[in-house]
Symmetry: C2
Subunit: 340 residues, 2 copies
């Protein structure tokens, strides 16, 4: 029976999103137990409001008190040093102690990354954890990292991201030789900045030693064409690319709506094609892809979009449930030990 | 009667795209004269093949010989020092000499940027030119720069891009106070890398002196929501964002096609909604947005996507025709003089 801690106070909306999401997820996983971490009085009150008395779901929820909250604008130092009883920190402590198998938070990325690293420590051989998620492509999906945990990266960090991404793709997709690529602005070797060029040289040289299938550079459009199974970049570029993806998807949905609403004639035509539009909307919905894993830590931490709504935060909890089953940290640790 | 030089040999496809595109554009602009720059024998032979003898279009085309071609993989140094008679260089020389009002090239970005800067020089007060284009948003469009000319940028460069972008938006959109934003990975001041933070401080301090309406940070999703009129970033991040946009647009089109092709039922439904799909495809087509301007130079240079097809390269020539009418370089120069 997997137990997962939810940072119930984190994110832009806190309890008003995390609690309904937890309640939505429980029926999907009959064995799951969730621990709601945060202001116990507020959580208990919300549970009374949201759950009918005697609901069997109540047995699969517990509440763990934490007196503080890491706000979305809190600097990393505040989260680390001043808020030692934050819902984020307490949830991570439970992972560390083995009370739960994973933690899900919509709290601010910098803080989640720093506190996770402080509490759980990185795996031996890994300097910095990275945020990784699967994005849809024309061929299936691609694992992209880092998506915002590390703003400035050295070649060594990117090399470690490449290795971790390769292992993640291998395990999750059952793919013995995932194609690992470096995100760049041109496929030619002359382009790119210094860090990218140096990383490229390192990966070309060390790919055999690392048992990695490094295929060179990929551009932003190639990511979505399915040119690689793993795409590596620094957290600044990765986060811009991720948010751009969301923005473009929303723009397309908006344009489609406008296109349909243009005249009464197009509105009627759209009714006929409703099943197509609904199917497309489902596939295009950025919320569906919410829930990114922090890899490189001694434990499973899933980061949700700060502004996630109920279905998206529920999707992030689903990611954590799946991750518990896969136990990536143990596999990455094992592989690293074999390499070092 | 505007005269525009076309780097006829540039890009992935060279003459096979540039010549048909030139022929497609001429009927749209009755006063336009195009100068095809490149291997004169090959261009003349292609003209004989593509144009019926006695076609009136022939009068509005001239050929300027250039014996060399900057290849897509040529390093900047080769383009600058070894290929002094390249079609790119000769076309830019014609801009410099005043023989033509603008130049369009699908040649490699680094080379086009370096040769343009060498031949035309930057405007007084501008250290580096930037690539700018208008991207669609939910509200209309946004001018984004730099899109790939400058891989590593200092705060001073980003400040100059902000200023040029603001002037471009003001002139092109007749917008007296365009909202200028800096692309970042979080709206909070604590996020972002050092260059971004420093640029933010400089722009906050100098926006009044520069007559600029700086509104702070914007994230990748905000760009397409229409949160700003001008978005500033370095060329690496900007190029990744641009290519990501193209990639996501193509992915959506692909998903829509799959959604339609799923069953015979959805195929029939799609027939009913065809006008909607065609309208959407037209608005989503990345080729429609081809043609980005190099700003900050003493002259008008339009960069086309290297892999552009005939309609996209034609769109880039259209951008140049429009730019000649607006004469942005003269306006930017005038504004800079007033500021310095």
């Amino acid at each position: 029976m997997p137990r997962i801690a939810i940072d119930a106070m984190g994110g832009d909306h806190g309890l008003s999103v995390t609690l309904p999401a937890a309640l939505a997820v429980l029926p999907r996983h009959p064995d799951l137990h969730l621990v709601l971490v945060g202001d116990a009085a507020r959580i208990e009150a919300a549970l009374v409001r949201e759950l009918s008395s005697g609901s069997p779901l109540r047995q699969r929820l517990s509440v763990q008190h934490a007196s503080e909250v890491v706000e979305m604008h809190d600097p990393v130092a505040v989260a680390l040093r001043n808020k030692k009883d934050s819902s984020m920190r307490v949830a991570l402590n439970m992972v560390k102690a083995g009370d739960v198998a994973a933690c899900v938070s919509a709290g601010n990325t910098g803080a989640l990354m720093a506190v996770s690293r402080f509490v759980l420590k990185t795996l031996p051989g890994i300097e910095r954890p990275a945020i990784v998620t699967a994005l849809p492509t024309q061929e299936g999906h691609v694992h992209m990292l880092d998506l915002g945990a590390n703003v400035d990266c050295e070649p060594l960090h990117l090399e470690q991201f490449a290795l971790m991404g390769s292992i993640v793709a291998e395990v999750l997709d059952d793919n013995p030789r995932p194609r690992v690529a470096l995100l760049n602005i041109g496929e030619e070797e002359i382009k790119g900045n210094e860090v990218i060029k140096q990383t490229h040289a390192v990966l070309q040289e060390r790919q055999q030693a690392l048992h990695m299938n490094y295929i060179g550079y990929v551009e932003g459009d190639g990511v979505f064409r399915g040119d690689a199974d793993v795409v590596v970049c620094d957290g600044f570029v990765g986060n811009v690319a991720l948010k751009t993806t969301e923005g473009v998807a929303r723009l397309m949905a908006h344009m489609l709506k406008q296109q349909i609403g243009r005249t009464w004639y197009t509105k009627i035509l759209a009714l006929f094609a409703l099943p197509i539009f609904l199917g497309l909307r489902k596939r295009m919905d950025p919320g569906r892809y919410n829930g990114a894993s922090l890899v490189g830590l001694n434990g499973i931490v899933v980061k949700s979009h700060g502004g996630a709504d109920v279905p998206s935060f529920a999707a992030a909890i689903d990611v954590a449930v799946k991750a518990v089953g896969q136990n990536i940290p143990a596999i990455v640790r094992e592989r690293l030990q074999a390499l070092i």
